[in-house]
């Protein structure tokens, strides 16, 4: 399943769209950037409450499928711009990280 399909099936808000539409190979949950950098695998969809611009560099460098901002965290303008520049898709939801994972599991991710 690609990230656009994930957005459609979950109903999560598309905060930043991307034409790249990468395949979602799995899910990774974490808020410590180095932990994500060291342990997430390319193609995973990253669920986090962090919403500052540094998450974009992590997602881009680690070649993640995209970012899901959980718990309705406010996304800084700089993050949105950076994600547009880097082609990183960001979804946003008021759901908890745990609920995001449960929902993704029902989609077979």
């Amino acid at each position: 399943m690609n990230i656009q399909e994930v957005a459609a099936h979950t109903g999560w808000q598309i905060a930043v769209d991307s034409q790249l539409d990468p395949k979602v190979e799995g899910v990774f949950v974490g808020d410590l950037l180095s932990w994500v950098m060291g342990h997430a695998q390319p193609g995973e969809l990253w669920v986090t409450v962090q919403a500052h611009a540094n998450i974009v560099a992590v997602a881009s460098l680690r070649e993640l499928a995209g970012i899901v901002i959980a718990h309705g965290s406010e996304i800084e303008e700089e993050t949105l711009q950076s994600a547009k520049d880097e082609g990183v898709m960001i979804l946003r939801t008021p759901q908890s990280a745990a609920d995001c994972v449960k929902l993704l599991a029902t989609l077979g991710i």
Binding site: L33, G38, S60, R62
Partner: protein, 138 residues
């Protein structure tokens, strides 16, 4: 032989990761193996972040020939008081501000060491020098 230099500013959180992104784009363009590229990107990012959150600023240099790729991260202090502790996974001296940004997991240096083929670190009060190298043709 390729050589490049990049300046890193102290506490420049807004630009954190930009140099690593530039380096990764460049190495992708010249057709480096994707698996190697990912290892380099992780190590470079961690070292860049370390310079931003812990040092007074410094410089990253990249040097590459047909056999190896070397990255040197040299900062202007204040140095790491206990390098052995700094190498311990989970141990961090990151500030509250850095932690708010999600830094300070204490995984930076361990991640760098794990990703690189060669890892060397020297630190005095006048600066820290991290040298990492990757074998290019395997």
């Amino acid at each position: 032989m390729i050589e490049q230099r990049y300046a890193i500013g102290h506490a420049d959180y807004a630009n954190a990761g930009k140099v690593s992104s530039q380096i990764k784009s460049f190495l992708k363009q010249i057709g480096l193996d994707p698996t190697l590229l990912r290892r380099i990107a992780v190590a470079c990012y961690e070292a860049e972040i370390n310079m931003i959150i812990h040092s007074y600023g410094g410089e990253i240099t990249l040097a590459m020939d047909e056999n190896s790729l070397d990255l040197n991260f040299k900062d202007n202090g204040p140095g790491i008081p206990d390098v052995e502790k700094a190498m311990t996974p989970g141990w961090s001296t990151a500030s509250e501000k850095a932690r708010e940004f999600g830094f300070g997991a204490g995984m930076g240096l361990p991640n760098i060491k794990r990703m690189a083929d060669t890892f060397e670190i020297q630190s005095t009060q006048s600066g820290t020098h991290v040298h990492i190298a990757f074998k290019v043709n395997e």
